[in-house]
Amino acid sequence: MASPSTSVDLSAALVLEPVAALDWLVILPVAWCIAIGAILMMIRSKTRLHAPIAIAALCGLAGLDAGLLWHVSQSGPVTMVMGRWLPPFGIAFTVDLTGALFALTASIVAIAAAVAAAGEIDASGRRYGFYPFLMLLMAGVSGAFLTGDIFNLYVWFEVLLISSFGLLVLGSERQQIDGAVKYGFLNLVATTLFLVATGYLYGIFGTLNMADIAAKAPALAGRAPLVTLVALFLFAFAMKAAAFPVNFWLPASYHTPRIVVSALFAGLLTKVGIYALIRTGVMLFPVQRQELGAVMALVAILTMLSGALGALAQADIRRIFGYLVISGIGSMLAGIAIGGADGIGGVIFYALHSMVVMTALYLAAGFAARLGGSVSLHALGGLYTRHGLFAGLSLVLFFSVSGLPPFSGFWPKVMLVKAALDSGAGWLAGALLLTGFLTMIATGRLFLLAYWRPAPAQASPLMPLPWTDLLPLAMLTALSVVIGLFPESLLSLVQAAAQTLIAPSAYLQSVFPAGSAP
């Protein structure tokens, strides 16, 4: 076959100029986490070194994410492509305000968890790889928030899933193995469904780059079964985020592992599902999401109410918090169902608040368990007299999770209720307020029984608890208070983030700079 060689101009498909130094921030959070995780694996017999290295590394990660947020807020969405191949040929990491905000909050939560783990995870837990798993989990979470490619998102989901399996079975008690079986099977089915949706997406669009899909979706709206596709995505991510009919893996498993692990899961994992829902539902397929709006609103209401009622019916404080995670997810789904800049801004704000507060609540549960010797409301009591400062911090968190002012839960709730009323969905606003009320009763009863009630006669003797154990809890609570008292800068950030999601022209511009559109 001696046909003449057609010359191909590759410069149209390649980035030829070197990457600007600041743009490396896009990929560094992921690379950093994987590198530190590998180093921790290498020194896994020197368990004494693990905690300091991991805490320092996570502080570094928070620094990188803060830098990234600053860079993105200055210059708009930033894209970095792998191997210099331009999308849709190469894999792109694209960061907009939403991704940067989520990644920064996740790293702050991870610092708190790592500090708390320094006191709680013993040498054998470290030997089994708690900190390497933590770093890999953060690599997965950061990757999911920063990637600009659907298949890549699937891969990061799997990275965080396998590290969460590792963390979940750490300690291998009977309860944990039981919880891990249910968590494992259901989450694996959820990610497989996500892969199914990705397969159909590729079949329809012939591309997996998010910006490319967002640009092509309007033209295909009438000609391809996009509503089916979006329904499949919503189902897969709703399972990840623990929305109503597919949420029973969460209360079955979240109370079984070490309390630090529960805290980390409650803060991060379900929010990755919410983030993916925002990304696909709001940025890629806004029209199709609106068509499914009624279903989503119904799911949101059922999730909110079943979570809040479930919390009322539990006697184990860790399980109460598990149900509160679910009701929070319902509130976020309500915002996604409403849509619009207010609704989506409210969802992003709620997710950031929920990451901080749910992690803090689980850390508080761990502290309460060590202070009172039990996790059951039957046996706890007198925590207020035992440790006044801790009781105060817990009360702040209970107010925050119920959405009462002046703490961080108040503002997103206001935004969501206002968005619901503005869009004429008064019943959704009512459900949001009712959930807040039920949550208040659940946490109020918890405070009454575990903190105010006099300690039972056979209470365990008081053990001295070092102040460092309270440090991560105090840090997260302070963050919640600061967000609640000074919400302006965060409010303007989430509103800008919601705008970029609703009208993703800046995102598209960043992936396909003028002239290189496919």
Partner: protein, 125 residues
């Protein structure tokens, strides 16, 4: 060619879901294994099937001479195979361990984390 593959994928999904709905963990594991392969077939079919035209560029050419098979789904499947294999291995070991620890592989009897006789919360003090 595609209809045959679509049918085959459908059969794989049916079998996988039937097995996943079972109570026995060992049958659910088989379901997970088949589900992974069902998805791989789906990815393969979604990239359009072209017979026996490898995506290889001949010597002295810059672009392939004619239409070639789409290499991207194969890269996706390769990734998915590796991941689903790792997960299957993990779940297999976990199930074996669960059988050893809990002495059952019936999910109805696995109530350690959510006991049947959990007491309702105290009503007051």
């Amino acid at each position: 060619m595609e209809p045959v593959f679509a049918l085959l994928t459908g059969i794989f999904f049916t079998v996988a879901i039937y097995l996943l709905l079972s109570k026995m963990i060992i049958r659910m594991l088989l379901g997970v294994a088949i589900l992974g392969n069902a998805v791989n077939l789906l990815l393969f079919t979604s990239g359009r099937i072209l017979r026996e035209v490898p995506p290889v560029i001949g010597a002295g050419l810059d672009v392939p001479a004619g239409p070639v098979a789409n290499p991207l789904p194969q890269a996706l499947i390769l990734t998915a195979i590796v991941i689903s294999f790792a997960f299957f291995a993990f779940l297999l070991v976990l199930s074996w361990r669960a059988y050893g620890t809990l002495k059952t592989d019936n999910t109805d009897e696995m109530r350690v984390a959510e006991p049947d006789d959990a007491t309702p919360p105290p009503m007051g003090y």
